[in-house]
């Protein structure tokens, strides 16, 4: 049940906050754990969804938003491309199930990225399909923004520079 996952995640973040004083350390830790989860989750995802190979960055971003998020978290963020080169995308979540039981961040943890695990998961999963990317939170509802926005920037692989991008 999803509640178990959400509650466990909350307990984990609380424990990490106790262990580490600095927000950046907690964020890094969450990101690293997310990465570990992502590299394994991609197998589970591909086995369950049996999707065909994505042929462009925008197809990949769409796949993450519409299929993966829906499968694991039950929400479908909207995708938009935010750069002319076609390698930066943002996923906009107006409902984030991970924060179902969280009202607000405590005052001394103002720069905590509560859902940083998600960034690590996406990054790890993409790396396993040979797509290097940087994933960060651009906006976060817990910090007062209107929506939660995750930015994915696909980094060019070395050999891509030889070919012209379509």
């Amino acid at each position: 049940s999803r509640e178990l996952f959400v509650l466990t995640y909350g307990a984990l973040v609380a424990q990490l906050c106790k262990d580490y004083e600095k927000d950046e350390d907690v964020n890094t830790c969450l990101d690293r754990m997310g990465y570990g989860i992502g590299v394994r989750l991609i197998d589970d995802f591909l086995a369950r969804s049996a999707v065909r190979k994505c042929r462009s960055y925008s197809e990949t971003a769409g796949m993450i938003a519409q299929v993966a998020f829906k499968m694991y978290l039950g929400v479908t963020p909207s995708v938009s491309c935010s750069s002319a080169a076609g390698n930066e995308f943002s996923l906009i979540l107006d409902k984030n199930p991970l924060v179902d039981f969280v009202e607000e961040l405590p005052a001394e943890r103002a720069s905590l990225c509560y859902c940083n695990l998600l960034c690590g998961v996406i990054r790890g999963a993409l790396e396993m399909v040979h797509l290097a990317a940087e994933v960060t939170f651009l906006q976060d509802r817990l910090k007062g923004d209107a929506v939660t926005e995750i930015g994915i920037t696909f980094l060019r692989k070395a050999e891509d520079r030889k070919h012209k991008r379509n």
Binding site: S1, R2, E3, L4, F5, L7, T8, Y9, G10, A11, L12, A14, Q15, D19, C29, R32, M33, G36, I37, R40, L41, D44, R48, M71, Y72, F101, L117
Partner: protein, 150 residues
């Protein structure tokens, strides 16, 4: 269900992450188990509240244990406890022959020494659930051959 995979992976990462941090720091394994158990405790308290919102009051301890074995376990691990034994004096043994968190690890005696780490969270889960139902308890786990555990 997809959620299961997510929780399994998160749990494994948590165990690995905590132990990794401990190795770099003090190297005290006991504290990691305590941390995992206390995390499970918090989660157990919250979960049991949500599950028992609409159920009737429990008649006695045995009733509560049966609830844990059937409904609680099913919701969390998608199966029921295989065997419940008691000495009617406060000691209950719950046996699960295919414990979800261990099935992916091994099917026999390999890696037996690592099993307790993965059970700490679940022990805390049970303890938290029982504590919110008004029962103070001590929960321990024993693994003789994966993936069964008591």
């Amino acid at each position: 269900m997809a959620d299961e995979a997510l929780f399994l992976l998160l749990h494994n990462e948590m165990v690995a992450g905590l132990y990794r941090a401990a190795e770099q720091g003090e190297g005290e394994n006991g504290r990691c188990t305590t941390k995992l158990e206390s995390m499970g405790f918090r989660v157990g308290q919250g979960l049991i509240e949500r599950f028992t919102k609409d159920t009737a009051r429990f008649k006695d301890e045995l009733d509560i244990m049966k609830f844990v074995c059937k409904d609680f376990w099913t919701t969390v691990f998608k199966k029921q406890i295989d065997n419940l034994r008691t000495n009617h004096q406060g000691i209950y043994v719950l046996q699960d022959n295919k414990f979800r968190l261990l099935t992916q690890m091994s099917a026999g005696k390999q890696y037996l020494e690592h099993a307790p780490k993965y059970l700490a969270f679940t022990c805390g889960l049970i303890r938290g659930g029982l504590s919110n139902l008004g029962i103070k308890s001590i929960v321990t786990a024993e693994v003789s051959s994966m993936p069964a555990c008591k």
